[in-house]
Symmetry: D2
Subunit: 317 residues, 4 copies
């Protein structure tokens, strides 16, 4: 993998059979769909991949399929998501053995962990496998925010190859980028190979304008080419084009509210919408999300379909 | 006031004497400093104005000085910040009598209030005074987030003339702007006169790219001309220039951490930094913040001074 | 007022006319109802009194009526609830002038305030009026928790005469009581006159067993005599009797859910239930809560009525 | 296991070698220490057992040692802690195979899960193994609170054999107990075999007075006999004796603050204190907590030792 990683790196959805088993044929087709869309990398086993719902065996299956399907055309980042260090290290070793190009770890969760302990955690994970390590900042799941000071320290000493920032704290991200050298100076700055990827898929134009390297967009599963167009426009300095594309994607993203709030989790609604959109587009076979998530009703799937059409995408079913 | 309000609208700091009384002469000079910097409006009695620390009498003094000093050159928005409707209405009537051009109210706080109750609140405040009403979304203080649905409803029926969004939820703001018609369509859209102002002062280039009308930047007290340059560049489509100016302001903003975290509130440190910067620049006489806030030490003031110099501003003291 | 204050000290509801004005006749009757129930003090202008909804003029009216109606038979504590010190001091002076026996203040809210600043706040409020000062720990409204260390410090130096603990942190309260000398040793301990009052009205038997001095129960408005029976049983060491009475009150308290969650705030539902219960019992004239709260429907009032009957109380309307 | 489970059920600490491996000899001695103290059950692989830090292999080792050491004298509950259903089911099957008498599961975490989805989760876990299932309510780790309605529903239909409530919401627990039939009526009530265990180790007297069946006290590792005395006194109606014992345990519990807040997590400090106390008492060999937790300094261990002596326990080292 070339450092720093830049561009569009979607968190790959995990297609499932209604029985709950991984639909490997659909997963391989999804990888093809993403690579054909021009993406620059794939993030398997992230939150959007429903990693928290998958057994270790299922995780292994998913990563193997993604690595094989990608076939070296783009790098594959593997989420190694678990509560604390020893468990994360086991996932990281498994990911390395399966051929991942990098691993992505959160701070410990379920436990309450001090920043000094979080630093130890990332250092040990990095030491355990000979792969670039990305920190995954996701306070909504992990309940702690990685501070700019901590990320800066781990960037400078080479522990981290990058950050996937899904904190939603865009001001904090801006401060981090400036601390790392800023829009222009960063690559001559203290962490020249450090990659800043935003998970805030509704403000990617803004993140790129601020100096981020790339994006990990959940809805990029559905329309990868659009994020690639957005990214290319930004790199070319066509900010108005980038903003227009972003705006269109904001409209498409509205599908995440397809499931009624009183009946299902917000996350179940969003994941179900992404998967049903992929099913409607003919990419994957089923829109099912993992147990115990409630499934989208036919009415909700119709909402998803309307969002696709409104954005100019054509359902084939 | 022309609708919609657009541009740079700093939340005016309230200079105090060490005794705690409002320093009216300094406040008038600060207004001059801001108007000379090219700002498009003034927001008196907001959070950055330490409104929560001021008695009703002090609030009246502040608003009178700002209205008189502005002298019609730019519109003056007045914060009418209090726990619930009846108290807010009293502040709004006082603001109208003093000559404010618009009022800015939060949702109720201290109490836990349902969205339907929040809608009733804004409607009654609007009915009580013949002035445009801005909703102030500040979950860190108010503990509830105004939903896009609620803001949209109150925009369309004319209750609200605008939103000051200090929620930090940039993705949510983007969704709201798109719902209101988007970057281009908004002004022909459902709420053509509605003004979206961001309080996220570190990502103003991004907000303007997304279609926001303006910004309410706390550190705009210190360097109003920079935000005006940023705004002008954005309006001209010079996004690289806007981003560079924003980046410089992010560096300047670093002064908010001047006060050590173990000794004082984060808000006290930031407000003290802004005020001491203004004192160092010769605009106001004292850097004191209101009781019971802890004051910056000489060492912390030196940090503020270094931030000014690093950003090319010249302390005169 | 004898120190330490002990016993049942209900937070007095504020009866309103449908117009929103204070119903002084009903308020005087409510005071009579409480004193007749045997309570040991009255807490006017607390959260249950809807203090956050009342203008300063209404607050003055309420306190005057309560002080006059109490007529020295029991002490009157007055809430002095506002965002920060200068505003709280104004309320405290007004309360002293009206004849309150003590004042009750929260930490600053709306702002984010450091513990050292909170200590300064309480010290200045105490210095401003010659009345005992109670700290009101209510994180759900104030967004900060008073630490045991801070309360202990302010108890020992005489700033605080007591604590009204509505934090819901019963373990923390237990640790505080032990730190102050424990169940037996407390009154010879470091703060012999310090009064610990719990606002956790569903676990009063437990708090008294732990060594608390008394209770400030919202639903004590409805059935003051029951809390007095509970208190007397506890003081007599009849813990089974106390627990049985508490259990009956837990059932009665179920009325707080009368208003449907999708239609109104949880606080509006609870306050509406207390007031309608008082109306049904013939104590006050209207069950209205202050604007912008949504009013209970007839169906919800019927739920309140059923709770009264189930607890052996007899609605007269 | 007899239903309902009642009494003192400590969450068994997991002694570790400095290398991080499970110290099986110490673990067996700890079980002996607890059984000798008179406890009524053992909870292995809970939060206090550092379950989140243990690999699956280590979990298996721990459970095997505890089951063997308990040797049928008291029932062994096994924590099956993981992010979502499929992973939890795997742990539950492993626990059943190793001889656990019951399993203890939280709601899903890391993901955001709707109450309807949480109900599905518990039902599937229950269906997967032929063992009683306890719900573990621990919002500080899981980020959602189990509502009384949900627990009641799952108690009545037989999904749950009990609740381990570590929510700290004592008022909510009281409402649940009343809903289940109350102090006296519960066992003839809708869920006669349902066991309510509190994890609020500082207010056990209160919970028992309220009608709880038992307690899962972390510091019960250190002084199990004291919780047994407390429990026996409560069952005998000697509430003053129970309260005095609780007060002594509150003092002992102060050891959890041994580690300085600026250097380590609150959880690391508490777990380190429990383990070092056990080491000082000669029960286990090392006080080490699992990586990445910071270890207690010699100074902090001295604080632990002082707490032991103050409570009348005699360190042997």
């Amino acid at each position: 993998m070339t450092a720093p990683l830049r561009g569009v790196v979607p968190p790959v959805c995990t297609p499932l059979h209604p029985s709950g088993e991984v639909d490997t044929a659909s997963l391989a087709r999804l990888v093809e769909h993403l690579v054909a869309g021009g993406v620059h990398g794939l993030f398997a086993l992230g939150s959007t991949s429903e990693v928290a719902y998958l057994t270790d065996e299922q995780r292994a299956t998913v990563l193997e399929v993604v690595v094989n399907a990608a076939d070296g055309r783009v790098p594959v980042l593997a989420g190694v998501i678990d509560t604390t260090t020893a468990r994360v290290v086991e996932h990281a070793k498994a990911a390395a053995a399966t051929g991942a190009d990098a691993v992505v770890a959160t701070a410990p969760f379920y436990t309450r962990t001090h920043p000094k302990e979080i630093a130890r955690h990332f250092r040990r994970v990095r030491a355990a496998v000979d792969l670039p390590l990305f920190a995954y900042d996701l306070p909504v799941s992990v309940q702690s925010k990685l501070s700019a000071a901590l990320v800066g320290e781990l960037a400078e000493d080479g522990t981290l190859a990058g950050l996937k920032d899904s904190s939603g704290d865009e001001g904090g991200l801006r401060r981090l980028i400036v601390a790392l050298g800023g829009r222009d100076g960063r690559f001559g700055g203290p962490a020249p190979d450090f990659s800043v990827l935003t998970g805030s898929e509704l403000t990617v134009d803004a993140a790129l304008l601020a100096g981020a390297d790339g994006v990990v967009p959940g809805i990029g599963n559905v329309d990868p080419a659009a994020y690639v167009r957005l990214y290319d426009a930004a790199r070319a300095g066509d900010w108005e084009v980038a903003a227009k594309e972003q705006e269109r994607l904001v409209g498409l993203f509205g599908m995440v509210d397809a499931g009624p709030e009183e009946d299902m989790g917000r996350s179940s609604s969003a994941l179900g919408a992404f998967k049903h959109a992929l099913q409607l587009l003919g990419v994957i076979q089923h829109g099912d999300t993992a147990f115990p998530q409630i499934q989208l009703s036919a009415e909700s799937v119709a909402v998803v379909s309307r969002h696709l059409r409104a954005a100019g995408l054509r359902p084939v079913r």
